[in-house]
């Protein structure tokens, strides 16, 4: 089966124009291949470039060099419209922090990716309810904005939102970080189910046991840290 993520020769450099034009090279010649049904964990110490690599995969950071093909689209060269379409249909991302329009109810926050795909409102809300229920967000909170929720609750809302649509490619940034044992298990089950339906997953998991449970391979990102010549 052909890979859903194929990264080759990826370089990422930041140029800080307003801080003495400092150039920071974070990744050099990075490579990664993920097949359907496979979960690859990015590992390495803080600052190794795990989050940077993940953000490049999402099109949130601009690749400085190389190819970043996600579900058939080379993100390093794609037009913004192509990346928007890719994210809507094929590329899901569960970030560490929830970012929402203030005052929008939780149920709508979770249903939104489905509505954006044209799913009928009732069906989208059914899916959202099932996920919120599964992630143990009390029903009394569904009509409230998640902006006032606890860290763990916000994270679960974010996960529900990220799993509402069966994206072929999923990026997970610390999905179990601030969860209790039961919720952690639910999230790992969701990841396993996504793998079983053939999703390609890239994750950052500081929780070593979680990583061992869902990841098929580890990729130590520090090998892509540029070495001084």
């Amino acid at each position: 089966m052909s890979a859903l993520i194929e990264v080759a020769g990826l370089g990422k450099t930041f140029t800080l124009h307003n801080q003495g034009s400092t150039v920071i090279e974070v990744l050099r010649d990075a490579a990664l291949t993920v097949h359907p049904g496979e979960c690859v964990a990015l590992t390495g110490p803080s600052g190794a470039g795990k989050s940077t690599l993940m953000r490049v995969l999402y099109g949130n950071y601009l690749a400085s060099a190389g190819r970043v093909v996600v579900a058939g689209t080379d993100i390093a060269r794609a037009q913004p419209q192509e990346i928007t379409a890719l994210r809507r249909h094929k590329l899901g991302y569960v970030s560490q922090f929830l970012r929402v329009v203030p005052r929008v109810p939780t149920l709508e926050v979770v249903a939104e990716p489905l509505l954006a795909l044209g799913v009928a409102e009732a069906a989208a809300q059914d899916t959202a309810r099932a996920l919120l229920d599964r992630l143990r967000i009390p029903q009394t909170l569904w009509s409230l904005s998640p902006t006032t929720f606890s860290g763990g609750e916000q994270q679960r809302v974010n996960i529900a939102r990220g799993f509402a649509h069966p994206y072929p490619v999923l990026l997970l940034d610390e999905p179990t970080a601030s969860l209790d044992a039961a919720n952690r298990d639910t999230v790992l089950c969701l990841v396993e189910e996504a793998k079983a339906r053939g999703a390609a997953i890239v994750g950052i998991f500081h929780d070593a046991a979680a990583r061992r449970r869902v990841a098929d391979r580890n990729l130590d990102v520090s090998r892509f840290i540029p070495q001084p010549a």
């Binding site: 124009h17 307003n18 953000r55 949130n60 950071y61 601009l62 419209q81 990346i83 928007t84 329009v101």
Partner: protein, 256 residues
């Protein structure tokens, strides 16, 4: 896909000074494009040129008309352009007083747009006005009140209703959340997002507020001294800005 709007080499000078220079971009159906930059960067001049409020000195503004496909609005007659601005375009001003008729009732403000595109049946016009007041969360018993009796946030929502009732395809917005309290802003942003998604609207949104851009715009264009210095996917431009000026803009935002 054919762009809804295609801008080529648009330039507007004020005497020896540049309003905006050599602007080119394409906007596709269903897309929201943000234009950011500080005061005097040319973003409002650009918007006024696109909407036909100002005549550019050079360049083309090609709009995909329903009847005849892509046409350069600069080559249309004034009457044709005016018709477009009533049927296919909408313009949401920063100050609702510029977009509303303050001496006409709320219902009249909404109904007038419909009459301008040929609606004549009083009952249907009032029905549509009531429906739109509800959509922008204005109590229906306020339909006969004049906007002067409304709060700033209500006036802005009424302006949006007046603009969207005639089902435009392209909405120009100039600082739509400008002079509003943050709590009112949030509600308006949510409203605009919902409308853009449900109606499949395309929009060009001018603002200096990066948070508004992040929440509403798919793509962003950064302007400085009349020129575009950077353009791209909204979150990419805000999180990984490439140009010195964008880096300065992004790093200057105060964290609440």
């Amino acid at each position: 896909m054919t762009p809804l709007l295609e801008v080529q080499g648009l330039t507007k000078r004020y005497g020896p000074r540049i309003g905006c220079a050599d602007i080119s971009f394409a906007l596709f159906p269903g897309e929201v494009m943000g234009v950011v930059g500080e005061s005097g960067s040319g973003k409002s001049t650009l918007l006024a040129c696109l909407a036909g409020h100002l005549a550019p000195d050079n360049g083309a503004v090609i709009f995909a008309t329903r009847a005849d496909g892509p046409r350069d609005t600069q080559k249309m007659s004034e009457a044709e352009r005016r018709l477009l601005s009533r049927t296919d375009w909408a313009f949401v001003h920063q100050n609702p007083r510029d977009g509303l008729r303050m001496r006409v009732s709320a219902g009249g403000n909404v109904g007038e747009r419909l009459m301008a595109v040929g609606a004549r049946h009083y009952g249907e016009i009032r029905e549509a006005a009531l429906d739109w007041l509800a959509r922008v969360e204005i109590a229906q018993d306020r339909i006969d009140d004049r906007p002067a009796a409304f709060s700033g946030g209500m006036q802005q929502r009424l302006q949006i209703a007046r603009n969207l009732v005639s089902a435009p395809r392209l909405v120009f917005m100039d600082e739509p959340t400008g002079g509003l309290d943050v709590s009112v802003q949030a509600r308006l942003l949510d409203l605009l997002r919902g409308l853009v998604r449900r109606l499949g609207l395309s929009a060009i949104l001018v603002t200096h507020d990066l948070a508004v851009i992040r929440l509403l715009a798919d793509r962003v264009m950064v302007m400085k001294e009349g020129r575009v210095v950077e353009t791209g996917l909204t979150d990419q431009v805000l999180d990984d800005p490439q140009h010195a000026y964008t880096q300065l803009l992004v790093s200057s935002v105060l964290q609440a």
